[in-house]
């Protein structure tokens, strides 16, 4: 990708080169929103910003809300599939020596569970929430690089389909989501299973990186006037930091998986100790991505918590600056502790101790966040609604996960619990407690904004109770069974080890947890069809996304709001200050300065286009083919180049040239 790839195709009217020097022609004018009444403003803006009708139109959409909705639904489907994997595994493990699932299938199941949950559910869903909310929260009309964003979605959905179709074909990776060499290497993974892992990872991370760049630029350059750095909502900060972590972490896993497929396909020796390679190099590279990955999933969830708590504690978050600084320091520190995943590989003792210190250090900024949230809640009994219940569940569970994380950071202690069910318990406490519970809270919180309808509060409470009990019943005993010596990733265990009863209990808890998601699905569908109308701001929250209608129109805001406070809607109770002067006949949005968010440029945003989809198909076909031959890259470059030229070539459509 380079500079020209990122530009929108908009351009000025043709101009003869006789005027080879001097000023460009003045911008052709069109109708402005200044002084226009609401009804005609709505008509003009809808005409400019809507997604075109028809199937081609739908496939061409570049509206961040449309793309985000697709992302959310797709990620939710992958969550269900990954959950079904887990259910199958728990049935197999519910007693010693069960014969329901053999090792060959079981290994594919737990690999698909990990890959699906990490790469196809957790990262995409937090990014998708960001795609939906960030442009609304910063008060702009679309995300930056909307076509890149659409491209990212097509890449993601095809990458996910690729992984799951390979599962149906009995060629799903069976080497764990971490795919350590030599097990995933050329000698010990015959066939194409490990190649599916390698290419699917590289491929889907392209989408993650695209979204990250789009998010960063949206936050840097498209904030509403007045939203200086100190007035950026915490959720947006969280997404910004996350996107930076993505930009610096995801290349590591792409490099790792590329090295792996090179070793497998063209016979390089990067991980072959007999020819100068090293298997541990894989682990270093993988965890350089793998640890920040946890924070990629967790940090946006902290942003959600920071959005939900103020709405129900009826005050701005306590210690806003402290929370921002801890987000940034967590982002930095997350790159300094990958080695704690490798304590059992026999690294030099002193080096390992350094990583103990750095791993424990990250507890401090995380502690700051927890304390600030608690302090926010301490003004009196908050309004208890379902989103807040899930935040309480988050505290209960995540703090346990964080504390067991401190245990894992200790080198000697880790040597006992590493690669046991204790670790399985730990990271489910961190990821489900730290990310899924806030996400569920966020679903109840923002559902009215997305659909215009409320979800059922009664079902929501049942859902919370079931999820909370089911989760703890399923995962708390895993701490114990891990300490009793049960390693991870075993498809069975013998009766004499005495793990039978506790595993039965765990499986029962897992079923309960799964049921809670069935209830949640019902509540989602029921809410979308029959929920009570929500109004613009059902929670009386303070950030900008609540200033527009529910669901928001394609152009987000009739006029660009002006921000005077970190909770702008609380500061401006009567009327919302807005800026005028943008054209309404074309997709014009406001570019502002990075630090102070002064209005700077009126720039045009990209129009709908089918090319991102075509480019994604070209890239996807290349990746698929590259599992079989390295020449795929050469042949695939041609359609990729053609689709990219089609994408970026200016169309000069009349709407733009009037």
């Amino acid at each position: 990708m380079s500079s020209a790839d990122l530009t929108s195709e908009r351009d000025l009217p043709p101009k003869r080169e006789t005027a080879s020097k001097g000023d460009l022609a003045p911008e052709p004018d069109g109708p402005r929103d200044t002084g226009m009444d609401d009804a005609s403003l709505h008509r003009w803006l809808t005409r400019a910003w809507r997604t075109p009708p028809g199937i081609i139109g739908a496939l061409s959409s570049v509206d961040h809300k449309v793309i985000a909705r697709r992302y959310l639904i797709t990620a939710f489907i992958f969550l269900c599939l990954g959950g079904l994997n887990a259910v199958a595994m728990r049935v197999q493990l519910s007693g010693p020596q069960r014969g329901l699932i053999g090792p060959d299938l079981y290994n594919q199941l737990f690999t698909m569970h990990g890959v699906t949950m990490m790469f196809l559910f957790a990262v995409p869903i937090v990014q998708a929430t960001g795609i939906y909310l960030v442009p609304l929260m910063v008060g702009t009309r679309n995300i930056a690089f909307p076509r890149l964003n659409a491209f990212g979605y097509w890449i993601y959905v095809s990458g996910g389909a690729f992984a799951w179709i390979s599962f149906l074909l009995n060629m799903a990776p069976d080497v764990g989501w971490f795919a350590y060499v030599p097990l995933s290497g050329p000698e010990f993974s015959p066939g194409k299973r490990a190649d599916v892992w390698a290419q699917m990872i590289t491929y889907t991370e392209v989408s993650s990186l695209a979204v990250a760049v789009a998010t960063i630029v949206t936050v840097f350059k498209q904030r509403a006037p007045g939203m200086s750095l100190d007035k950026i909502p915490l959720y947006v900060w969280a997404l910004l930091v996350t996107s930076f972590v993505v930009v610096f972490a995801m290349p590591a896993v792409m490099i790792t998986s590329t090295f792996l497929i090179l070793d497998r396909l063209v016979g390089t020796h990067i991980f072959n100790p007999a020819e100068g390679g090293d298997a541990l190099l894989f682990q270093h590279l993988f965890w350089f991505f793998g640890h920040p990955e946890v924070y990629i999933i967790f940090l946006p969830a902290t942003g959600m918590v920071s959005s939900i708590i103020p709405a129900f504690a009826r005050r701005p978050t306590f210690g806003h600056l402290g929370l921002v600084l801890s987000l940034i320091s967590v982002g930095f520190l997350s790159f300094g502790l990958w080695v704690h995943h490798m304590f059992a590989t026999g690294l030099p003792k002193l080096g390992a101790s350094f990583f103990t210190a750095s791993s424990m250090l990250i507890a401090i900024p995380n502690g700051v966040q927890i304390f600030c949230w608690l302090a926010t809640l301490w003004d009196g009994r908050p309004v208890i609604r379902t989103p807040l219940l899930f935040v309480f569940g988050f505290f209960f569970i995540f703090v346990i996960g964080g504390l067991t994380g401190v245990m894992l950071a200790s080198v000697p202690l880790d040597l006992q619990v590493h690669d046991t069910y204790f670790v399985v318990a730990h990271f489910h406490y961190v990821l489900i407690g730290g990310s899924v519970f806030p996400l569920l809270g966020a679903a109840y919180f923002w559902f009215p904004k997305i659909t215009g309808r409320m979800m059922s509060e009664r079902l929501g409470r049942w859902h919370f109770g079931l999820a909370f009990i089911g989760f703890n019943a399923a995962f708390f005993p895993m701490h114990l069974v891990g300490l009793w010596g049960m390693p991870r990733r075993v498809y069975t265990y013998s009766a004499e080890l005495g793990w039978g009863n506790i595993n039965l209990f765990i499986s029962a808890g897992a079923m309960l947890f799964f049921l809670s998601f069935v209830l949640f699905t019902f509540n989602l569908i029921h809410g979308a069809l029959k929920g009570a109308p929500a109004g613009d701001n059902p929670w009386d929250a303070g950030t900008l996304e609540w200033a527009t209608s529910s669901p928001p129109p394609s152009y987000n805001f009739t006029r660009i709001p002006i921000v005077t406070n970190v909770e702008p809607l609380w500061a401006e109770r009567e009327t919302l200050p807005v800026a005028t002067g943008l054209r309404v006949d074309v997709r014009e949005l406001l570019i502002s300065t990075v630090a102070e968010a002064h209005p700077d440029i009126r720039e045009k945003s990209a129009t709908p286009s089918i090319w991102p989809l075509l480019a994604a198909i070209a890239v996807g076909a290349t990746f698929l083919y590259s599992i079989f031959t390295p020449w795929a890259i050469v042949w695939g470059a041609v359609p990729i180049a053609l689709t990219l030229v089609g994408w970026f070539w200016p169309k000069g459509d009349p709407e733009d040239e009037e």
Partner: protein
């Protein structure tokens, strides 16, 4: 509260049955595991206290009067200043605890490192998919002993294990004696272990290593020094002659059928090295790396259908009729 109690009850129930395990980090039988168990309990207790404090802090607002505020931005700045003080103190405490725990684990690490500094016995453990090759090193070449899956050690003495692998990464873990350490091709890792008392301690591979990762068990059998030396001497002996006609027939079958391609039996022409050494197989406690207990029936089951017992393992199905199977089992049973 009720659900807490319920969870507590459930975990208490299952807790009781887990203590008897011979593969438990909470049931230490050696200095390293004892140090680690102490560390685990200490960390757990400290973390539990912290967690309870956070939960109290979380529950407090629930017990307060409902919020009186009409406007969210109308804050009580005095209250926020007091809160700031509490938060700063809490962060300070967090930092102090973090430093304390770092130092604690650093010193624990030093204690662990000191355990094997004077180890007299060196054992080379090589991981294979999905069994352990065990080689007792000795200055005298004739005393070098190769066996599989079960590691006899003298009780009360530190023993040095040299860990490596010929295929994929495995991890050696006997929880009641020490923490785990990986076996990585191209690397040799050193793990010192010591069992305080004679006993049998189970362990198993802790790094995912393919199809039969779940059935890659090992045993450490700690014995008094004299008994250990006697065991070593016994193991060095070649296999004795078959005791019965049936066993003799079994030996002939063993040597003329696929068995001989992979396995070694000392004192016979069978010299395969890619599978476990069977010279004294009947003296071991288990078959197929801890998958089955040693018995005539299990031996027969394992030989007749290894892919049913341990699907994906490298032991192929060899077609034998009933008599042939009985003969081979009789022969192997005699290899004490």
């Amino acid at each position: 509260m009720k659900r807490l109690a319920w969870t507590g009850f459930g975990t208490a129930c299952v807790f009781l049955q887990g203590c008897s395990g011979w593969q438990s980090a909470l049931d230490p039988k050696g200095p390293a595991a004892s140090e680690l168990a102490w560390l685990i309990w200490f960390f757990t207790a400290l973390c539990a206290v912290i967690w309870v404090l956070v939960m109290i802090a979380l529950a407090t607002p629930l017990l307060m009067r409902p919020l009186a505020r009409s406007e969210p931005l109308a804050l009580d700045s005095g209250a926020d200043r007091r809160k700031l003080r509490v938060v700063v103190i809490a962060v300070g405490l967090t930092a102090a605890i973090v430093v304390g725990l770092t130092l604690l684990s650093f010193f624990a690490n030093r204690t662990l490192a000191a355990i094997g500094s004077d180890a007299a016995l060196t054992i080379r453990v090589t991981g294979h998919q999905w069994w352990w090759e065990v080689r007792y090193e000795d200055a005298t070449p004739s005393r070098i002993l190769t066996t599989a899956n079960e590691i006899h050690i003298p009780a009360g003495e530190p023993v040095r294990l040299l860990l490596t692998s010929t295929d994929v990464i495995h991890s050696f873990w006997v929880p009641s004696l020490s923490g785990k350490l990986d076996l990585i091709p191209g690397h040799i890792n050193v793990l010192d272990i010591k069992a305080d008392k004679p006993g049998v301690y189970r362990g198993q591979c802790a790094e995912f290593c393919g199809a039969q990762h779940a059935n890659m068990g090992t045993f450490i059998i700690a014995e008094p020094r004299a008994k250990f030396d006697a065991w070593w001497n016994d193991q060095l002996q070649p296999a004795g002659p078959p005791a019965s006609d049936e066993a003799k027939a079994g030996e002939d079958l063993f040597l003329s059928r696929p068995c001989v391609m992979c396995h070694r039996i000392g004192g016979t022409p069978a010299g395969g090295t890619v599978a476990p050494d069977l010279t004294h197989i009947a003296s071991r406690r288990t078959l197929a790396a801890g998958t089955l207990t040693m018995s005539r029936g299990n031996l027969a089951a394992w030989i007749a259908d290894p892919q049913g017992v341990k699907p994906g393992s490298h032991m192929p199905v060899v077609e034998l009729n009933g008599d042939e199977l009985n003969a081979i089992v009789a022969y192997l049973e005699g290899l004490k």
